[in-house]
């Protein structure tokens, strides 16, 4: 029953590595990384799964490319006077990119082959720190603590996916309901007295920690 002239009617855009990667990222954003298979990605591109192997070596290289695409969305630190502001902006941009593509965080653990966008980003961060007067050693420290915090927060955020206060309350209920009341009194207190209060927004935690680290780096910058 399928129209045999489909191909002629709908002249297909030729496949390319870029189109494969962009479609894979869109698929993972929509459905998660688990359901992403070579066959379904082929479907999404109107092609058989096997055709993909003309543009990526295998699934592992596909995942590497997807992660690098996410990195390319993160703003590079700006040049200019205030290094803390520059670091702050790229950290905020990184968090935004990682919450648009939460599957990328879990992938980073197993990826050991950074792409060009990833390396360019790292290079720009180190450059900006050196310009701001950090020694090589201190730049390495600063880079490590900032990146660990950024990724760790994104990881945390992805695993506690409450978009709204309503969802937060429901999730907390579901988790707590599986255990005796007051089995975890301090966790319960913090949840009830703080997290579930109307004004609470988990995003604010990000800024708190970020500023704490940046202030700490400033005071420690000239000690080595």
């Amino acid at each position: 029953m399928a129209p045999p002239t489909k191909r002629a009617i709908e002249p297909r855009i030729p496949l390319s590595r870029e189109r494969v990667l962009l479609t894979a990222v869109a698929f993972a954003d929509e459905s998660g990384i688990g359901p992403l298979s070579m066959r379904k990605l082929g479907d999404a591109l109107g092609v058989e799964a096997m055709s993909l192997y003309n543009h990526v070596a295998n699934k592992s290289e596909l995942l590497d490319g997807m992660v690098d695409l996410v990195f390319s969305e993160i703003d590079l630190p700006q040049g200019g006077a205030d290094w803390k502001m520059a670091m702050r902006q790229r950290a905020v941009s990184a968090r935004r990119a990682l919450s648009r593509h939460p599957w990328a965080i879990g992938l980073m653990e197993s990826r050991t082959s950074p792409g060009p966008a990833t390396l360019r980003h790292h290079d720009a961060v180190i450059r900006r720190l050196r310009e701001a007067g950090f020694s090589i050693e201190m730049a390495a420290h600063a880079f490590s603590v900032l990146d660990s915090y950024m990724y760790g927060f994104a990881l945390h955020e992805a695993s506690l996916p409450f978009e709204t206060g309503q969802e937060t309350a429901e999730l907390a209920q579901t988790i707590m309901a599986r255990f005796p009341v007051d089995a975890y009194p301090h966790l319960t207190e913090l949840t009830v007295e703080h997290v579930l209060k109307p004004g609470y927004d988990y995003s604010n935690e990000y800024e708190f920690g970020l500023d704490l680290i940046l202030d700490g780096l400033e005071t420690v910058r000239d000690t080595t």
Copy 2:
């Protein structure tokens, strides 16, 4: 050719949820989380894959149980005078547990159903912070920044798996060889002048960031 009396000779230990989880963790430590399948886990236990479903509901619940087992290996913060020391010790213990079981980090992103060991650990951390004079709000801040840093560092460490200086050098060579010389001058400088120097140990970065955050928390503890 298989001896038909095998079963009689080797009386099998009965399966249990605990034995399933412990074997799954050992398997993932050895071979990674990717190769862990219900069939291979069955093999490792001398049982058909389908028998596992009598002890865990499905693979997702198996993974939840594995993550909770890793949490149970992390030391709870000690009571007593020095809250910074208590937080420091549990952070060091957490990093050790996560580097024994690097697959656990990537798993946390997708797990939204914390187990009893996870909740007990979180409860103990919040309790210790409250005892040290942190307000509920400040305890939430402190918890967030410390945990983000810990997980983020572990994530970083898992994705840059250099056990020895030799391996570090080789990995750096391999990565850099794929790109033009001096495409990333500042990254290259930091790598050559610092990371590849004999005395370098990435572990030291952990302590630097940890102490920076703990000192920051101390100065900020009484502001709210």
